[in-house]
Each structure stands twice: as structure tokens, then as C-alpha cells.
Symmetry: C2
Subunit: 340 residues, 2 copies
């Protein structure tokens, strides 16, 4: 039975994966907009741009020349936030606590075609990206001292993306970042108690409830999680409990690629714009432990709220209090579902 | 002894108040900028704008008329995210967990002068804002069912502020928001063990170290915390352990106002622009408990990174992993200190 209070009155919802809350103010969706509008570039891009440092055969800032790649191309970030061989140290000086952090940062070009985004790519080509993610997760994760591999994409200038060429990043490091650590704890606690996947059990409940599901195929659900923060936040998760993306079969990789294609296309239709977002895959650490409690998933955090130029600001209250949203997860799911 | 590794190599720093980490990549400060530039309005504003819904004597969207106020003016938010009398309910449906949240949201105009910001106001006038914050904290906090009062300001269009008239907000509610809850836990744990203020002990250590202190007067320190996330993040904290702003004396209120004035003026000088930020005061809950472990403080989270138009994006890695910064807290403190 649906709880209509959730569509009418302020409430907070619990994120089972992080243990944190989001404030939802459904009655507030009507407030007028007087704030900043983003500039959105509608310029049609060429398939090749001789000034793009990610296009095939072009020279990067450090003088290296990109190969004449035909599908996916991966290289180590020229301005990596983490370095493999920086010295190890520890600061434990009263209340000042710091630790060196080593890692590897890579850039992954999804396609040589400068004009495309995942939304414009063929499912078969997205599948090649999935395979590249798998390979990188394994090969980086195997390196001594790398205990976590974060795959993500910043899409659109409004998401700090400095180059429109279709690409993502992979940052890997020694320790678990904050968000991963929270999800690690919450899943572990549940798994110990129930011998079952926290996210898996949640997904089953969502399959019965239906109201937050946007799309599904044999292996994947695409949904707005009950506790979504961003107006049109979406999660893609495998129905079967799998701890990381290396566990998916050839056919599951195709269905994962289809899920990515379906949601990114729906996003582009929503406000008739190349929809900006940050996406990322949370999966088991590469720390050599069993990590049976992990259930991997990919999330999309898009900033747009009500048009191609009006975004949701996570500012004052959100920074000092909790994330806050107006439009509910259920309404967002309905709108996205209608675009498929 | 200063640890030079912290200025040269990637590391993570621990936030004693939240229990979370920030990734610092000092070597990365040199990377070129190819991303989005913000549009910054340099337009000089008039002291009165007949289209501004916060200016004295103007009519707001709901038809109410603002009084002809002379200093501070406070009213209940016309589009409040929290409402006092919405129904109470609880959702506990398998893995779906939600709770109604009641509260009051107010807007506080700092000055009738539309052209000003805190940085342009006299210290004596900022002191009137401090007194208004005190009064609101008490009167809202006394209301049955209000256990926390969050005072904050979003300044600048880039921070989602929809009106340049100098103003802040006060959102109050039944439960502790995420960030407050973390700080509550961390301070409580420390206080139980040491019978001393966590932040107070940290401030003493900073007074000896000196490298992160930007300004001080008899009662307040202005510093970049060791674990700062935003490039030019700053904290103002009372040297004496006080749990909330009602504990400050008349003279301390003046010194607090001076600290606000000094840092906001330095900010405006930094990139020669009306510096955008979100600021907020974290202080003891109004839940009727003793809360001796609380040490109140005001923080400024400004988005700008290297000029009036280039901001730091908290996106992909930051959303899925941990906050990340390039320029260190020590460098930021030095730059701000030089502007005072
Ligand atoms: O209330 P305002 O100023 O319209 O709105 C602004 O501040 C709020 C509280 O931080 C945010 O939730 C909004 O996203 C932001 O645009
Ligand atoms: O690495 P890029 O694309 O230059 O930079 C972008 O992504 C990084 C990782 O999310 C962020 O730290 C930067 O703020 C953002 O501008």
C-alpha cells in the first residue's frame, strides 16, 4: 500500500547503503525559480577536433601522442590526484591526523568520436566500455597497495568536466574513500546478520513495489532509489548479488550496456539537452578479502532540476545539515519511465 | 615541526569533528584549467531595488508587505522546506524507512541596504545580526519538537542564492541533520573520555602551530582547519568552549562580528570579487539535554578555486569517494592572512 504522506509532507528517508538521511519536501516543488541559470552549450560538435587532447592522433599537454584508437582508449591521467610512488608517511600529532595516500588515476575515452556521449553510442560499443572497466578493475586492483578502484564519469561542463570528448576516469587508492567505507560497513552489518545481500533484498522489495522502477531487463534493474538525493538520481543494479563487475557474464555485460543506453537516452530527452551528471560504480574493494557482503551498482547523480538550465544547488542547508530534495523519487521515476 | 610531506605528496587528512577524511593532492595545484568559467555579475547594485522581495516596504510573492525595517528583518520562509504542523508519520516497510520531519524555516535580512553584503557592513551592524541569530536560536529552539536550529547563508548566484539582497536563512527541525549528528557523536565521544572540548583542545594546538591561523582577537580564532575541504574554507571559533551562541557576552558578540567582518573582507579581496560562499553555524541541539560536549563554530565553504570565475567542482570522485582538494589548508591560510 502506498503511503501518500510521502508525496505530500516533509519527511526524511533513510539510505540503507550509507546509513544517512535525506530531507524530502514534496510540497515545495512549486516554488518559483529566481536563481542562476546555467549556460548550456548546444553547439554541435564535430567527430574530430584537432584541439581536443582526447581525440585520436592528437598530442596531449605532456607531449605524448594519442594512438589512432578505434573504440576504447585508456591512459594514465596527466595530472593525477594520486601517484603510485609518492613516499609513505603518517602524521599523528595530537589532533592532527594524516596519512599518505598512494594510487593510480586513469582516463578512459569511451569512443574516438568526439561528437558522441554514451547516450548516442550503440549498445555494442557501450559493451566495449564495460569490458574495459572490467579489465581495469582487475589489473589495477591486483597492484600491491591498491585496495579500491573507483570508476566514474563527469559529464558536462556544469559537472566540472573540462573536455566534452566522451570519457570517464578511474581513480584507485590504498584506503577506502568515505562513501565506499560507509557502504562497506552497512552491507557488512546486514550480511553478518541475515546472510543475504542488503541491496539484493532491497531490489526484490522494489520489484514488488514497482513505483520506483524505470526499466528492467533479464539481469538489471534501473530505478530511483527510495533515498535518492539528486532530483533525477538513478541506480543500475544487477538483480543477482554480485560483488563486482568481473562477475558478470558476456550476456550480462550486454544487458548492463543496454541499461546504460536506456537511461542516458531518457536523460537526454527529459530536458531536451545532453544531460549532465556524475556517474560511478561502487563495488567490492580489491583488498584481497572475500567481500561477500558487496553488491555492486552504478549510480547517476545529475544536477538538473527543472530544465536544461535550472539545477538543484546542494548548498547551505545541504552542506551543514543533510541533502534536501523537493520532487520525490516516485515522481522522478514516473517522469523518466515515460521517456523510455 | 612542520611536516613538509603534507605540502608535496598526496595524503588524506582526518576531520576530528565528522570522523571523515579529505584527499589532498598538493602536487596537482599546477594543472591547467580548461573547464567551465562561472559568470560573475560585477553590476553595482542600488541601495533599494523595487523588484527585490527582500527590500523594505516591498511586497512578497504571497502578498505580504515587508515593514520599513532599519537593521535586521526576519520572516518565515514563503516556500519553507519544513513545516511546523504537517502530520507526523513513520514508514517502516522492510528496507524502506522514512519519518515525518517538522520544522520552521525563516529568512533573515542582514540589512535594508540592497547593495551590501556582510563584507561591506559596519562591525556594529554585523553585531545586530549576531544578536538576531541568538534571539532566533532561543525562541525557535524553545518550541516543542524543535531539536535543532541551523543558521546559514548562501551567498552568490553560484551558491544557489536567488536574491543578492544580503540575507541568510534559519532552518530548524525535529531531528539532527547528518552533519550535526556526526559532530555530535565525535564531540561526545571525546568529551566522555577527556572531560574536555574536542574543538577547544584542537584550537589550542593550532595556536601553537600558527600556520593555519588567519586572524585572532581576544575571543575568537579565524583559521583554515587542518581537514578543510573547500579551497578557501575557513572556521571562526570561540577560544573558550561554549556550546552555543547564547553563551557569548556583549563584548564577545562584538569580537565575533569583527571576525566575520575581517574574513569576508579578505575573501572579497582574494579574487577581487564579491566572494560567494555558504556559511553556517554548528552548535548544540535544542533538545533540552546538557550538551556540554558541544563547542560552537561558524564555517565558510566558498566554491572558488583560482579566480572569480574558476570554481572547484565537487563531482565524480568527490561524490562517489571522498572530498578532494589540491591547494593545501596551509597555503590557503597564508594567502588569506596576507589580505588582512
Ligand atoms: O531557499 P533558497 O534560497 O531559495 O534555495 C537555496 O538554498 C536552499 C538551502 O540551502 C537549497 O535547498 C536550494 O537548493 C538553494 O537554491
Ligand atoms: O580530473 P578533471 O576532469 O580535470 O577534474 C574534474 O574531476 C575531478 C574528479 O571528480 C574533480 O576533482 C575536479 O574538481 C573536476 O573538475
Amino acid at each position: 500500500m502506498k503511503n501518500t504522506n510521502l508525496q505530500d509532507y516533509s519527511h526524511k528517508r533513510y539510505n540503507i547503503l550509507t546509513g544517512e538521511w535525506v530531507l524530502v519536501s514534496p510540497h515545495r516543488a512549486k516554488r518559483p525559480w529566481q536563481g542562476q541559470n546555467e549556460e548550456i552549450s548546444t553547439e554541435k560538435r564535430p567527430s574530430y577536433d584537432d584541439k581536443c587532447y582526447l581525440c585520436a592522433t592528437n598530442t596531449r599537454i605532456n607531449g605524448k601522442i594519442n594512438p589512432d584508437y578505434k573504440d576504447v582508449f585508456i591512459f594514465t591521467n596527466d595530472f593525477a590526484a594520486l601517484q603510485k610512488d609518492s613516499p609513505k608517511f603518517n602524521v599523528n600529532d595530537g589532533l592532527l591526523k594524516a596519512q599518505s595516500e598512494n594510487g593510480i588515476c586513469k582516463v578512459i575515452c569511451f569512443s574516438p568520436d568526439h561528437s558522441k556521449s554514451l547516450a548516442d553510442m550503440e549498445v555494442a560499443d557501450i559493451k566495449k566500455v564495460v569490458h574495459a572497466w572490467q579489465k581495469e578493475y582487475v589489473s589495477i586492483g591486483e597492484i600491491e597497495g591498491i585496495n579500491y578502484v573507483q570508476i566514474f564519469e563527469n559529464k558536462g561542463a556544469v559537472m566540472g568536466c573540462s573536455n566534452p570528448h566522451p570519457h570517464g576516469q578511474i581513480w584507485s587508492q590504498t584506503s577506502l574513500p568515505n562513501e565506499v567505507d560507509k557502504k562497506n560497513q552497512q552491507q557488512l552489518t546486514y550480511y553478518k546478520e541475515k546472510k543475504s545481500s542488503l541491496l539484493g533484498d532491497y531490489l526484490q522489495q522494489e520489484q514488488t513495489a514497482k513505483e520506483r522502477i524505470i526499466f528492467e531487463n533479464d539481469d538489471f534493474l534501473v530505478l530511483t532509489p527510495f533515498w535518492a538525493i539528486w532530483p533525477f538520481e538513478v541506480m543500475i543494479a544487477p538483480k543477482k548479488a554480485q560483488k563486482n563487475i568481473t562477475e558478470i557474464t558476456e550476456n550480462e555485460a550486454l544487458n548492463f550496456a543496454e541499461a546504460i543506453s536506456v537511461i542516458t537516452k531518457a536523460y537526454d530527452k527529459l530536458f531536451n539537452t545532453s544531460f549532465p551528471y556524475s556517474s560511478g560504480i561502487h563495488q567490492s574493494p580489491t583488498d584481497g578479502k572475500e567481500n561477500k557482503h558487496w553488491h555492486w551498482h552504478m549510480s547517476f547523480y545529475p544536477p538538473l532540476l527543472r530544465s536544461a538550465t535550472v539545477k538543484k544547488f546542494m548548498v547551505g542547508y545541504e552542506m551543514f545539515g543533510s541533502p534536501q530534495r523537493d520532487i520525490t523519487a516516485e515522481i522522478a521515476a514516473t517522469r523518466l519511465r515515460e521517456l523510455i
